[in-house]
Amino acid sequence: MDPQKQFWQTLTRRAFFKTSGLAAGRIALGSLMFPDLFRTASAQPRSGPTHPPLPGLPHFAPKARRLIYLFMNGAPSQIDLWDYKPKLGELFDKDLPDSIRNGQRLTTMTSGQKRFPIAPSIYKFAPHGQCGTMVSELLPHTAQVVDDLAVIRSVYTEAINHDPASTYILTGNQIPGKPSIGAWLSYGLGSEAEDLPAFVVMTPRWSAKRDAQALYQRLWGSGFLPSRHQGVALRSKGDPVLFLNNPAGVDPAARRTMLDGLAKLNQVGFERSGDPEVETRIAQYEMAFRMQTSIPHLVDISDEPKSVLDLYGPEVTQPGTFAASALLARRLIERGVRVVQLLHREWDHHGDLPRDLPLQCRDVDQACKGLILDLKQRGLLDETLVVWGGEFGRTVYCQGELSRDNYGRDHHPRCYTMWMAGGGIKGGIVYGETDDFSYNIVRDPVHIRDMNATILSLMGIDHNRLTYNFQGLDQKLTGTEARAVPVKGVLA
């Protein structure tokens, strides 16, 4: 038949009723199987400060109600901190065997090197706690709480540079545009605090003597989720939130009246357009108003007993340090914030590692111990998940010139160490094992996707079922390419 005639035939009334009859049936079946199929933006926007969890969530009873994610941006060297490799001592300045390297791609920072001499760690390791986990002398305080930690030595990723790698571990994909883990948790589990956001981020300062890799707002952004789920970053110096306080001459009552009027106008706009971003706008204005009272109470630590401040170390009273941020993290989760993320920078020790790594460790070491002990004595460690780690590991071979007391390490994605503690985590264990060069994983590999699946499952979420339909795909934090599996070995 003539193609044009064929085409016109498909547009006859007969053809229309024949196909649409079936289609209507299919749509009806779809709405029976997937009740959310016809969900539209509600006429009444959820503009209240708290938002409830998605229906059906949590998927099962959670072990942890809150998450504190201590992200060590730049990639701490696992060989010098957590992965004890005594045999490397005899291999100083020997070349890394090809059989070990096995074709691992190099960054442009070391690809020009003629040699890859092995740089054993100059730091001593010792067994700690009842479990006897080996921890380096650079983390003496964290070592004291190692009986509460599950140290995972076999985490791996594919990304080899900071931007894609940080984006990968914090948003689930190397390509930007996806929501961060905190945004997913806020979206799925909702927020409970009325006067604080569900997801709060802090970026404390660092002590290493070099410039740090930049952080990007997308690392705590909301991606394609409604933007009310993005992380709210508290500034480390000066006012935690800029322009939070009313300017001179504006009193709270006037502010309230203004906000009510604004909300009405936005409501009109929402009813006209149905744009969910308007919902976010209304909610954020409300949240900002409440934060005017809640933030000053939060950052005023004069009500903390001295014994608690001492746990975190001497820097806890200096705003903007990691220790101060750790204390604020505990105060935030006590006030009902769902996810607190601390991003500590400058662990990227390509050179002069012995100069910079101890400084970085001093920033975080005692604060981590303080946080764990403080949560524990308040009975909160049982309900809070604490995660520590970076975006990848560091190489066993030296970058740049190797000497007995100075060396640097390049990026290494194939294995590195993270630790978890708290709700649902078995303390005092080491999970996974790397080879003698801390280069390859020999047992129980854990992809960063699996780490994220584990975090979600401890918070009561099946990572396969928390999805958001965007661009025709049911997007998940753990991605759709490969199957992520929560790590059972670290669960209590």
Binding site: P52, L57, E192, E334, Q377, G379, D382, G460
Partner: protein
């Protein structure tokens, strides 16, 4: 195997299913015959033949199935005999009635049918008694009728409470009532499932099909406890799903009594119970607070809308713990000082569904905590940083499912902590910044730890480790290799340096530290006489790395 074959049980179990059909049909036949006496309905029994055609085979089949079921055992003998013979009689009369009808002897047929009905009633009654107990129909009859129908005294309203719980007889006054409540109906004098009776100590020690119900002194090996402690979803869990389950306190008492040697005639004081057991007994039989029996929660669909409303109203968070279970978690700490006792009272409609409750840092006081009586399903309770004192803990004592209790920053003292010994499932308790002293906390841990039980488990672990070791076989290949002697070693060359022929392994000699092979004795002798002419040839034949030692 000793028990009936599974196929026997399969058909046997069809008996309660099938038997109701002939019962209905026989009654129908009788009714139709009676109805046919009225002129108006004289055709009522016209189809009796057709009905009989169905009734007779089914009656016979159900009797056969019943006989198979009786082989499975577990039924009290006398009652079983009565039921069996009246049942067979029913089927028999039914069969004869069928034959009489077919032979058109209508009057005899009616008499036969009548007798069939009479034995049917008897058989059915005995059958019902077998399954449900002889007082099944009358136990809940209205008061005056009960005594007359049952011919016995109604069961007493509550057990008499003696003055001092410590003077009670351990078995007869404490343990037996527990068993009577939840176990005897299926494992007692009237019915003994799996041939097990739990109404006397001898019967429990003797046991049933699966073995003795208890091993005196060994709670871990006692089947009765193992079955009670199985998860509810397991098939072997006792009591079966749907029947009343024992309290956690009762289970703890049972375990303690068994581990004390399951004595039949000792008093509670003579057995020196640890503090938590003593408290449970006091609570049950004395004047202490009774541990609340589990109150079933309402379905989730019913409470979720209520929860959402309350959450909005009170500015707190109330959410489900998971969509498949009826449990809720309530976080009131986010409301801070705005949340008071009155607000806690408003949660009453959700009380039986609450699993986790967080009132930390709120204005809840001791009187507010009295409302916890209505929340017996709580497993986690946060009351830290509130103004509660020891008096408030009264309300907590009823929570028999509580596993986690956070009291930091409250006015709780040592006396308050001691009260908490009665909570059977408590696993974590937080007491920072309270008035509790380390010594009393240590005592509390001591009283809750059954050191004997832990020691027994340690011993079990050691035994299991030994068994694992014994299960392995050790094969030792040694570490040193035996020095090779010339007889065992092989020559370094494959061809004879004299003749070029293949080497005979038995014709060898050592020349300058190297074992050289020859094809025959003649070549060997020639080489011995004068090796020099053959050395270059030899060098070529030898492998590269074995060089002859330089001559002295």
């Amino acid at each position: 195997m000793s028990g009936p074959l599974e196929i026997t049980l399969f058909f046997g179990r069809l008996h309660p299913l099938l038997v109701h059909l002939p019962i209905g049909l026989i009654v129908l036949l009788a009714a139709l015959e009676i109805l046919a006496r009225w002129p108006r309905f004289r055709t009522a029994n016209a189809n009796a033949g057709l009905i009989l055609l169905l009734t007779v085979p089914v009656a016979v089949v159900s009797v056969v199935c019943g006989w198979l079921l009786s082989r499975a055992g577990g039924y009290q003998d006398q009652l079983l005999q009565w039921h069996k013979w009246t049942g067979i009689a029913t089927a028999g009369f039914c069969l004869i009635a069928g034959l009489l009808y077919a032979a058109d002897l209508k009057k005899l047929y009616r008499w036969c049918l009548g007798s069939c009905v009479v034995v049917l009633v008897l058989a059915s009654h005995f059958g019902g008694s077998l399954t449900h107990g002889s007082d099944y129909l009358v136990r809940y009859a209205p008061g005056p009728f009960r005594a007359w129908l049952a011919g016995q005294k109604p069961p007493p309203a509550n057990e008499t409470k003696p003055g001092d719980p410590a003077q009670l007889q351990a078995f007869s006054s404490v343990i037996q009532p527990i068993l009577k409540e939840d176990c005897i109906s299926c494992h007692g004098p009237e019915k003994a499932k799996a041939k097990l009776r739990l109404d006397s100590l001898e019967a429990m020690l003797k046991g049933g099909e699966s073995g003795p119900a208890l091993v005196a002194g060994k709670a871990a090996e006692s089947l009765v406890l193992k079955r009670i402690r199985l998860p509810d979803t397991e098939d072997d869990h006792m009591p079966p799903a749907g029947k009343p389950q024992p309290n956690p306190g009762d289970v703890a008492l049972l375990e303690w009594w068994i581990s004390q040697g399951a004595p039949a005639d000792k008093k509670i004081t003579e057995l020196k119970p640890p503090v938590n057991i003593a408290r449970i007994i006091e609570a049950r039989f004395g004047k202490g607070p009774a541990l609340a029996k589990t109150v079933p929660p309402k379905p989730l669909t019913e409470v979720l809308p209520l929860a959402a409303n309350l959450a909005d109203q009170l500015s707190i968070a109330v959410t489900a713990l998971s969509p498949n279970e009826p449990w809720l978690q309530c976080n009131a700490s986010v409301a801070g000082k705005d949340f008071t006792d009155a607000d806690l009272a408003k949660l009453a409609p959700l009380a039986s569904n609450l699993r986790w409750l967080d009132v930390a840092g709120t204005k809840v006081t001791d009187s507010g905590l009295t409302q916890l009586v209505a929340m017996p399903n709580l497993t986690r309770l946060h009351v830290e940083r509130t103004a509660i004192t020891d008096a408030g803990l009264e309300g907590v004592l009823h929570l028999s499912n509580l596993e986690y209790l956070n009291l930091y920053g409250t006015q709780v003292t040592d006396a308050g902590l001691r009260q908490l010994e009665v909570l059977p499932k408590l696993k974590q308790i937080y007491l920072w910044q309270t008035k509790v002293t380390p010594a009393v906390a240590a005592e509390f841990i001591e009283s809750r730890t059954d050191k004997d039980q832990l020691q027994r488990w340690q011993d079990e672990i050691e035994q299991l480790k030994t068994r694992i070791r014994d299960a392995h076989i050790a094969v030792d290949l040694g570490t040193t290799t035996t020095a090779s002697t010339t007889t065992k070693a092989s020559a370094v060359n494959a061809e004879c340096p004299v003749s070029g022929k293949p080497v005979d392994p038995t014709k060898t000699l050592v020349h300058e530290g190297v074992l050289i092979g020859f094809c025959c004795d003649d070549c060997k002798a020639k080489f011995l006489q004068d090796p020099k002419p053959f050395l270059t040839k030899l060098a070529a034949l030898m492998p590269k790395d074995s060089k002859p030692k330089p001559s002295q």
